[in-house]
Symmetry: C2
Subunit: 197 residues, 2 copies
DNA sequence: ACCTGAACACCGTTCAAGT
DNA sequence: ACCTGAACACCGTTCAAGT
């Protein structure tokens, strides 16, 4: 293969991200290497560095797509359930289901670490925050008496809790206990406690 | 450096694990390489493979030590608090404190992934299970009416939840919310919900 | 018997050189 | 201008060869 202008920068970028997503979905984040992506799209490694800052940048883009996908799946799961506690439960179960169905892509979200001290770029942080906002929206319809700060805390406490179950489940640290039972237990008792508070 | 019998196999093993622990504590798991460990103990890489199966085996040993250390810290935190709900809270806060104080070692626990499909060795699984057992013991003193299965579920749901908060905190995904507030919210409301159930 | 050190097949990243 | 391909400084792992 020689000099080519077969594809624009944007096209190469899109091809690389699609190839990367496939590699992660099929073989997991550790299998994602610059040479493998380059081979999949028919260019050499050097070309990737014309289009991405580095591998971390590329992985962040892949994970950003996964977060968008996850957000869409959760919105849908929530809307399908009747408002109230059942909707919170549907959201939590939706998260567990997504983590299982897309487990290599979902795991990549948490396996990837930026170099020490480097914070997430703003656009990525916004995608994480949007996940919590989704939970806040569903929780806020439960009881109107709480102020914004309580809502923020409740949404993050509950959602982090659900996340903890999902991640221990996906990394097989839970032993022979059904993760769904844990999610149900956490959501029900937390909400009951909130109401009684 | 030439042929030496300065140290027994067991001594080399201990030196390597100690060096590895220091590297992880100072620079994080990604900085842990066979060549770096070898250099730290004054042997060549080949020697490490005489004493460990491979790097995964070595990392598992390092993480096993961290789990022991964590278990001891949590036992102590629990015993220092009065029995009852306060003790559950002390356990949860102790976990968050450990994750923060030893954050690179603690993170290594969850950053390391065994090759696809390879389960944790039994001795390592037992150390994970011991963590949940600790929570069960503290929870069981709260109410005597629950059966063993309920206790297992409650301990794992609550503890996974606390873990989720700690891991999102340690990877800076929580935003400007105090993790301790989340831990307190989760524990209090979950326990209150359990009681009301 | 114990340990070395060089080799193999990989990495991420850069950049002079080709078309 | 666009892309290559070879180079650099690394990896984990193995194993013939040295002492």
């Amino acid at each position: 293969m020689a000099r080519r202008s077969d594809h624009s920068r944007e096209e190469i970028r899109g091809m690389a991200l699609a190839a990367a997503e496939t590699i992660v979905a099929n073989a997991g984040l550790p299998a994602l290497t610059a040479r493998r992506i380059a081979q999949a799209i028919g260019y050499t490694v050097g070309t990737l560095y014309l289009v991405f800052e580095n591998l971390d940048d590329l992985i962040l883009q892949v994970n950003g797509r996964t977060l968008d996908d996850l957000h869409a799946a959760l919105s849908q799961a929530a809307e399908a359930a009747p408002a109230g506690p059942a909707r919170v439960e549907a959201l939590a179960r939706g998260y567990l289901e997504y983590a299982r169905a897309q487990h290599r892509r979902w795991n990549a979200l948490f396996l990837h670490q930026l170099p020490a001290g480097q914070p997430f770029p703003d656009w990525y942080g916004a995608k994480i925050a949007a996940m919590f906002t989704l939970v806040e929206a569903v929780l806020s319809s439960l009881s109107t008496k709480r102020d914004a700060r309580d809502l923020t805390i409740a949404a993050r406490a509950l959602w982090s809790g659900v996340h903890g179950i999902c991640i221990l489940d996906s990394t097989r640290r839970l032993g022979p206990v059904a993760a769904q039972d844990l999610v149900d237990s956490l959501v029900r008792n937390y909400l009951r406690g909130l109401e009684a508070g």
